[in-house]
């Protein structure tokens, strides 16, 4: 059952990722990314990370993707021209991507990772639930938590400054 869920979610995540790269219309790319994010949330649930999965669905697939959809609708989903500024870019880039994947796989699988128990230890029932994560965030990681809230505030102010300026040029 777990394997079936894993492969279904992995296929969804891969399909969504390839859709983001391959779709010519940015709006379809946004929709493909939503599929990708939902599949990742399923994977997080399989990894007993309930709070991260919920945050993924609510924050990412909900709020951030709505932001993307609004901006694509505002800018207009124009398709990009199909000529290559660098000759052979369309063939070289997938080759480089494949090389990166092979390198990463060698680095990960060739390391001492396999020496550890590959199934992971048995975890208690409360592993990764909102209470446990909230306790960690408010006790051990209080400073990073506050710093990230300041970062969010700065980003919001920055977006308003960037996007709300009247046309002066």
């Amino acid at each position: 059952m777990e394997a079936v869920l894993f492969f279904a979610a992995a296929l969804g995540a891969l399909g969504g990722a390839i859709g983001v790269v391959a779709m010519r219309n940015p709006f379809y790319g946004v929709l493909a990314l939503i599929v990708h994010l939902f599949s990742l949330a399923v994977l997080f649930l399989l990894l007993t990370a309930a709070f991260v999965a919920a945050a993924q669905v609510v924050v990412y697939a909900g709020a951030v993707m709505v932001l993307y959809a609004f901006v694509v609708a505002y800018v207009g989903g124009e398709e990009e021209p199909s000529f290559d500024p660098i000759p052979g870019q369309r063939f070289l880039a997938p080759l480089l991507g494949a090389a990166l994947f092979i390198e990463l796989s060698i680095a990960v699988l060739g390391s001492s990772l396999t020496a550890l128990s590959t199934h992971g230890p048995d975890v208690s029932a409360g592993f990764g639930n909102p209470a446990a994560i909230g306790k960690l965030l408010l006790e051990r990681f209080l400073l990073p938590f506050e710093a990230s809230s300041i970062l969010l505030l700065l980003a919001a102010v920055g977006a308003v400054v960037l996007a709300a300026r009247r046309d002066t040029a």
Partner: protein, 99 residues
Amino acid sequence: MNVEWYVVLSSLLFAIGATGILIRRSPIVILLCLELMLNAGNLALVAFSRMVGNQQGQVFAIVVMVVAACEVVIGLGLIVALFKRRLPLDVDALKELRG
């Protein structure tokens, strides 16, 4: 499921995102591919957190989500500003800062 499957899937997703950044030229799609790469990193963090049996990796993943949200907001703000100034939305045409 072995944790290695998750890590290999994560590196595959990361490579797909990097390929997308190399191929595509629309800044919106490049931001979407950045999301792919950040999420691949998140998947690896959560998988390792499960492997070690420690929840701190999940806190890491949440902080990565916060950073990704900030990056999206700033990036989309830049795209809207570009659009308002009627500049082309093509990263190859926007090269004034190139030395």
